[in-house]
Every structure is written in structure tokens, then in C-alpha cells.
């Protein structure tokens, strides 16, 4: 590989569609979340640079490692999750910018990498030797078991529907040729609804902020984190807030890069914020029942309809 090639790849991961770009969009999205929540509660809300200030501050603060914690794992976990999100964001953006390029990501790789931030939260929380963090980690684990099944089924509904294309670039190209997935039948709409419900659960906001539950668990797995590792977790969350809507848009609703994509993005964010502000937190068993009951049934109906060609 020549040097210019290498530099291009580094630039792709670190600056343009990768880290810097996604982090900026993600931090702005998390500000949008806080501002809209504030307006819904008749407050003024924070200024636009709020999330940037949070991260800048955390980078300068002391990093405390609690006595008796597994130091390497405790400090390493946030960065593993962070790296996974950076890679996912690069793959996703590249798939929509250059569907036929050499950088074509695979749907399955993205689905796997999306697990990693949650795993990092679980591992970091368990390593921090704090009862609240351990409880939060165990709840995160149960929540993950709950929401992933329906989401995976809904992702594969699309694969059934488009005739077995599992690469993201292929999916984008397919939609450019024959219209966005969402317009291709009832099964895709059902899959989209299931995927929409997955977003707040994955972000652990809204009625699904069960692992962090600040009035019972302090802040769950993050209780012992401070300084730079906490900043890494906050950035990971903010970037996920950008990555998940972009993923949904890529697989469900791309035709080409158009203002519609931005509208879709804002609509998905507004949906998440509205759900968050109008629903009280579920108990972990209620969340499990919800995802393994109605949501799972819905997603199975979707995949059956898709295999019937609807």
C-alpha cells in the first residue's frame, strides 16, 4: 500500500466521515436532545456548545481509578467501545458516499460492531468494583438480550426482501435502482418500526434508561468513571446518537444524498426525544417482556411477510 493510500485511509477514519465529523454531528445531536427536552418542559435549555463544553471539561479533569478495581480493564473498556463506534461510523458514511467503492462495509460487521459499545459499558462497569456499577452492568446486559433479537430480525427482513444482498454498499445501490426500502411493502415498514424502537433502547434513553437509572443507581456503569474515560463514554454515546439514525436511513431510506436524508435524521431524533420525555422509565422485567413479547412478534410477522414477497 502506498503512502498516499495509507494517508487517505487514516484521513477517512480520523477526519471526514469518521471520527471528527461524526463526533461533531453526534455532539450537536445530543445538544438537540437536551434543548428539545428543555423546551418540552418549558425551560430555556443549554446553549448549542454545551456538549462540547462537557467533553472539553472532562478531558481536563482528574481520572480517579478506584482502589481494588481491575485497572487495565477499567481504563481500557471506554476506548474499546469508542474505537468500535469510530469504525462503524466510517463504514456507514462510506457506504452511502461511495456504494461501489473499495471501502464497502458489510451489514454483519456493522451489526457486530454495534454490540461493542454496550459490551464495553458492561465490562467497564463490572471492572469498577462498585455495587451500583455492577447492578447497572447486569441491567445493561439484560436490556441488550432484550432488544437485539428483534432488531437483528428486522435487519434480516431487509436482506430477505432485497434478494440476499448483505453488503451495505449493495443495499444502497439496490435502493438507488429500485426506490427506498420503505416504499417496498408492508414488511419493510414493520421492520422500520421495530428498528425505531431499538434506537432509544440502544442509546439507553427514554423509557429504557434502565442501566443508568440515576435515581436508583447513581449513574449505573458510569458511577466510578471520571475524567478522560468518562469523556470517552460520553463521546461514544453522542456518536451512537448520530450513527444509529444514519444506519436506519442507510438501510431503509436512501435514494441518493438529498435534503430528505437530513429531514429523516431530524425526524428520528425528534421521535427519540419525544418518547424519552413522555414515558416514565420501565422496570427491567417490563422492558424484557416488551421486547420479547410485542416487538419480537411484530418483527417475526415482518420477516414472514417479507418471505411471502409483501
Amino acid at each position: 500500500m502506498s503512502l498516499t493510500n495509507l494517508l487517505t485511509y487514516v484521513g477517512l477514519v480520523a477526519v471526514f466521515p469518521g471520527f471528527v465529523f461524526t463526533a461533531v454531528v453526534g455532539l450537536l445531536s445530543s445538544w438537540f436532545d437536551r434543548k428539545l427536552s428543555a423546551r418540552l418542559q418549558w425551560r430555556v435549555g443549554p446553549p448549542w456548545y454545551q456538549s462540547f463544553a462537557d467533553v472539553a471539561k472532562l478531558l481536563g479533569k482528574e481520572t480517579v481509578v478506584p482502589a481494588g478495581s481491575a485497572k487495565l480493564v477499567f481504563l481500557g473498556a471506554p476506548f474499546v467501545g469508542f474505537a468500535a463506534v469510530v469504525v462503524v461510523s466510517t463504514i456507514l458514511w462510506m457506504a452511502s458516499i461511495r456504494p461501489d467503492g473499495a471501502f464497502v462495509g458489510d451489514l454483519i460487521v456493522v451489526l457486530y460492531l454495534l454490540y461493542v459499545p454496550s459490551l464495553a459499558i458492561i465490562i467497564g462497569g463490572s471492572a469498577s468494583r462498585n455495587p451500583f456499577a455492577a447492578l447497572g452492568a447486569s441491567r445493561e446486559m439484560k436490556l441488550m438480550l432484550a432488544y437485539e433479537v428483534g432488531f437483528l430480525i428486522s435487519a434480516f427482513t431487509l436482506v430477505v426482501k432485497n434478494g440476499g444482498i448483505v453488503s451495505l454498499g449493495g443495499m444502497v445501490a439496490y435502493q438507488q435502482a429500485s426506490g427506498p426500502m420503505l416504499s417496498q411493502g408492508i414488511s419493510c415498514i414493520i421492520a422500520f418500526i421495530v428498528a425505531l424502537i431499538y434506537v432509544p433502547a440502544k442509546l439507553a434513553v427514554g423509557p429504557f434508561d434502565i442501566p443508568e437509572a440515576e435515581c436508583e443507581l447513581i449513574s449505573g456503569p458510569f458511577t466510578e468513571y471520571s475524567g478522560v474515560p468518562l469523556a470517552a463514554f460520553k463521546l461514544t454515546k453522542a456518536m451512537l446518537m448520530c450513527v444509529l439514525p444514519v444506519f436506519l436511513i442507510t438501510v431503509f431510506a436512501t435514494t441518493a444524498w438529498s435534503p430528505w436524508a437530513i429531514l429523516w435524521y431530524v425526524l428520528i431524533l425528534v421521535f427519540v426525544v419525544l418518547i424519552k420525555n413522555t414515558n416514565p422509565r420501565l422496570r427491567i422485567d417490563q422492558a424484557l417482556r416488551f421486547f420479547w413479547g410485542p416487538v419480537l412478534v411484530l418483527s417475526i410477522v415482518g420477516i414472514v411477510l417479507a418471505s411471502l414477497g409483501l
Binding site: Q41, Y49, A56, G60, E62, S219, S226
Partner: protein, 145 residues
């Protein structure tokens, strides 16, 4: 405690001023000051305009809002929380009790006032202080950083 003098980069200093996360610690107050702190977070005063957020863990805190006279019961806990807080942090004594002992001054169970135990950056007197006074105090304290 010398950690509190930690050197901060310009960027982090700016961040600290724009996003002070507060941890609320009651060291034996009559609960009235605590209610006034919660008032600051209500839609009427909306402290999130300044980036002030109430956090549950002292590890995340930049501002310790301490109320009460520091009783014998709470004294070790106060020390624990102060040590757990990631530095640099701002310690704010809220109410006459935390500033000087207030009406409980001289009680048999009093270890405080607060500045005998940990370094205090801002004193907000009043029994209890008004929410405006609390916001004003925190903002003045941040200007000192």
C-alpha cells in the same frame, strides 16, 4: 488536596466554566437549604441554561453543594465524598449552617463549620439562601477558577 491546584488547559478551563456539574451533599441541615437547591433546577430558574446539571456520583462532580453544620455522623462521609470527587472541584457552602454553624452553632454534635474541615471556595449565607443567591454564588465561584 494539592490536586485541587491542578493545571488546566485553556480549553478545559472554558469547559469547566460552561459545564459545572453539581453534587448535592447534606451534612445535617434542616432540609430547607436542600429544597432551595432543588428550586434552582426547576423550570422557573432552569440552571441548565448555564450547563449546571445535578449528578448522582461525586466522581462526575465539579461543584460540591454542601449544606448543614457537619455533624459527627456526617463528618466521615463528608471526607469520603470530598476525596471521591474528581479534582479540580469547587466547594460551595450553602446556608448559614454551612458557613458558620447558624442557629446550631455550639451544639454538642457539631464538628463544622465546613471550612474547618475542607477548603471552601464560596460562602452563600442565608437561612435558607434564595435560589437567585445560589446561582449568583456558583457563577462567582466559577469566575474565580
Amino acid at each position: 488536596m494539592e490536586e485541587n491546584e491542578r493545571k488546566l488547559s485553556k480549553l478545559s478551563r472554558w469547559g469547566l466554566k460552561k459545564s459545572p456539574w453539581a453534587f448535592h451533599l447534606n451534612t445535617g441541615s434542616c432540609n430547607n437549604c436542600d429544597i432551595e437547591i432543588l428550586d434552582v433546577l426547576t423550570p422557573k430558574y432552569d440552571a441548565e441554561r448555564f450547563g449546571i446539571v445535578l449528578v448522582g456520583s461525586p466522581r462526575h462532580a465539579d461543584v460540591l453543594l454542601v449544606t448543614g453544620i457537619v455533624t459527627m455522623q456526617t463528618y466521615p462521609r463528608l471526607l469520603h465524598v470530598y476525596e471521591q470527587t474528581a479534582k479540580p472541584c469547587l466547594v460551595v457552602a450553602i446556608g448559614a449552617c454551612a458557613c458558620s454553624g447558624g442557629i446550631f452553632d455550639g451544639s454538642y454534635h457539631m464538628v463544622g463549620p465546613l471550612d474547618k474541615i475542607i477548603p471552601v471556595d464560596v460562602y452563600i449565607p442565608g437561612c435558607p439562601p434564595r435560589p437567585e443567591a445560589i446561582i449568583d454564588g456558583v457563577v462567582k465561584g466559577l469566575a474565580k477558577l
